[in-house]
């Protein structure tokens, strides 16, 4: 494994660890900032690959992640935190039990999908990194996002879960094969627009619980 591969593996692993950090937060602001850190890590991974492959497209992609995910979305979400933002927290969350369940969910999900779908295919990752094991990181991040959406009941944590999912797809794409930049850029704008729409819902409804009218 050369230095570039090491850095890429490390930053991908750190992005997955940042998912655990987000999962462990009770305070909304910390969660949003966790998403910021994750986006920065993903942008860093893209820049390293851009350097290794001398790819302008990847540089642009990294900048898009940095500006749209790292800055704009974080800023948008932080501004929408109601009241005294730094004090707002999700109550009745068992952090330890959630982390444990998260770990089990991720391990089972990633193991099943990786062994069923990806282990039988001989991938060549980003040109010079061989083998598909690095795909475990975006897959784990994807399941973390799903778990965050399913396990929390505030709009903010569910948006963060969705952004985590999208971040995992960016990682997945750059490891496997970067899709054309125009499509990637459209995806980024779509996600940004969706966060804007979600932030409108945040103003009206902060928590989401089962309603009698929506049963069945």
């Amino acid at each position: 494994m050369n230095a570039i591969e090491n850095i890429v593996f490390l930053s991908a692993a750190l992005a997955t660890v940042s998912g655990f950090y987000i999962q462990a937060q009770e305070y909304i602001r910390s969660m949003v900032r966790g998403q910021f850190i994750q986006s920065i890590l993903i942008a860093a991974t893209i820049f390293v690959l851009a350097y290794a492959e001398s790819s302008i497209d990847l540089v642009v992609l990294g900048l898009l992640v940095l500006v749209l995910r790292g800055y704009l979305i974080t800023e948008l979400l932080e501004r929408r935190i109601p009241g005294k933002g730094s004090d707002l927290r999700e109550k009745e969350i068992g952090i330890a039990s959630h982390l444990l369940l998260d770990l089990v969910f991720i391990m089972i999900g990633t193991f099943i999908i990786y062994s069923l779908v990806f282990s039988g295919i001989n991938f060549s990752i980003a040109g010079n990194i061989s083998g598909g094991t690095i795909l475990v990181f975006p897959l784990a991040l994807f399941f973390q996002g799903l778990f965050l959406i399913g396990s929390r009941n505030t709009t903010f944590s569910q948006i963060t879960g969705y952004i985590e999912e999208e971040n995992s797809l960016v990682l997945f794409a750059i490891f496997l094969i970067p899709v054309p930049l125009i499509i990637e850029a459209s995806v980024f704008l779509d996600v940004l627009a969706l966060v804007v729409i979600s932030s409108i819902v945040v103003l009206e409804k902060f928590t989401h619980n089962p309603l009698e009218e929506l049963r069945g």
């Binding site: 569910q158 995806v187 929506l214 069945g216």
Partner: protein, 444 residues
């Protein structure tokens, strides 16, 4: 260069430019223009390049433009006196236009990546439409729609990445005409797309947003969701399925979804939720047709185009009932026939059409699909027949009790709303009669 696709996408967007002036009239003008352009594009098809239009996509274009026009017309009166709005009336029309433009974009693009972008854009444009009539429940339904559909469609992006990995292009026409010979990766792509895009199509178990959004959205938005949004998602799923047909997986998912939706449908107390489950049943029947191939595809297209008018008629009729009675539950409504004869007629006709009664087009479509299925898998055929009958009885029993049981003092909400509902129901009947006439002629 083909100019029609550009015009079809641009018309609703141009209508949004009239936001400050007469956006309602501009929306109707865009709807009329889109219907005309969608019909005319047939004479240029098939073609491919930036856009890909063939007979299949043409059918979908006609569906979307027609229901877009009908919903805009219906909205004129429906949205006028909403008491508590989540969005302003002008914003409602702007979003309705953008929602239609995003569906046209999805149908026309000759690129799997842009199709994905289009599907995601439909969520963005339509999410706030659900809170056109604002309440705590509609906000919750809108949120569930946003988060569940986005999470599901995000999963579908994995299949787009894998398509690009495998073919080094995302060009729809090129990929489906290279006829890739069923490798493992193609199978994986098709399977992941089923779960991802299936979320928006209403495939069990990723359908859960569907009844919530349909039941809480304003009636014209429910009509757009049921009549065209789900079919557009199904279209994308079909285009991916064409890469490497995997009938075993798709037919079983469709059969199980039909069974589940029929069971859920049978015990619904809210008539819009009941129609939502009926939509799920119809979409999965169409998915079954596409998965069968051959005559099944013809059946699916017939079913979808008739269903779009029938279910729009059903949701428009539901909107009329909501306006007049203010009630959502089947048990609370009765004797509609006396006070609302026109709405009752459209409701009965639409329900019969949507549930597959002869001679409506859905019946003919289901007939084709089931005859294809009978020749291939008798177990699936038996299950589907049983649950289609269950759904038929469930829908029509509930609607009959609303229309004919007891008496009420309600009155029609106005000619425009009633007329639109009647027109949609009548078109679904005419399609069936026209098809049966053609079929009988062919036999003679």
């Amino acid at each position: 260069m083909h100019i029609f696709p550009y015009l079809i996408i641009a018309a609703p967007i141009i209508a949004c430019a009239f936001y400050k002036w007469e956006i309602r009239a501009a929306g109707i003008a865009a709807g009329v223009a889109d219907v005309i352009l969608s019909v005319m594009i047939y004479f240029q098809s098939p073609f491919h390049g930036v856009f890909y239009v063939d007979f299949t996509s043409w059918i979908f274009l006609v569906m979307v433009s027609s229901i877009y026009l009908a919903s805009t017309i219906y909205s004129l009166n429906y949205m006028k006196d909403i008491q508590v709005r989540g969005i302003s009336e002008k914003t409602y029309y702007a979003l309705l236009n953008l929602f239609s433009a995003s569906m046209f974009f999805t149908l026309l693009m000759n690129n799997y990546g842009f199709m994905w972008v289009g599907i995601e854009a439909t969520t963005i444009c339509s999410a706030l439409l659900i809170i056109g009539e604002k309440s705590d429940v509609s906000l919750e339904a809108a949120w569930r729609y946003i988060i569940l559909v986005s999470a599901g469609v995000a999963f579908a992006f994995i299949s787009i990445i894998l398509i690009y990995y495998q073919f080094h292009t995302l060009n729809v026409y090129d990929i489906i005409h290279t006829n890739p010979a069923g490798g493992l990766l193609e199978r994986i792509i098709v399977a992941i797309a089923l779960i991802g895009f299936g979320t928006k199509t209403g495939v069990f178990p990723v359908h859960t947003w569907l009844p919530d959004a349909h039941s809480e959205a304003p009636a014209p938005v429910s009509a757009m969701f049921s009549g065209v949004l789900l079919p557009v998602a199904l279209y994308v799923l079909y285009r991916i399925y064409q890469i490497d047909p995997f009938p075993l997986l798709y037919t079983w998912f469709a059969v199980i979804s039909i069974a589940v939706s029929s069971l859920f449908l049978a015990y619904q107390r809210n008539y819009k939720r009941m129609f939502a489950y009926s939509t799920m049943e119809n979409m999965n029947m169409a998915l079954l047709g596409f998965a069968m191939g051959g005559v099944g595809v013809i059946g699916a297209l017939l079913l979808l185009i008739t269903h779009s008018f029938a279910k729009s008629g059903a949701f428009f009729s539901s909107g009329n009932i909501m306006k007049s009675t203010g009630k959502k539950n089947i048990d609370e409504i009765g004797g509609l026939w006396k006070g609302m004869p026109w709405t009752s007629t459209s409701l009965v006709f639409s329900s019969m059409a949507a549930s597959g009664a002869p001679p409506f087009g859905v019946f003919i479509g289901e007939f084709f699909i089931l005859s294809a299925l009978a020749g291939q898998n008798i177990i699936q055929f038996s299950i589907v027949i049983f649950f289609v009958m269950t759904a038929f009885i469930g829908v029509n029993y509930n609607i009959s009790s609303m229309v004919f049981r007891g008496s009420s003092e309600n009155s029609e909400p106005g000619w425009l709303m009633t007329g639109t509902a009647i027109a949609c129901a009548a078109i679904s009947l005419l399609i069936g009669i026209f098809l049966l006439g053609g079929y009988v002629n062919a036999l003679v």
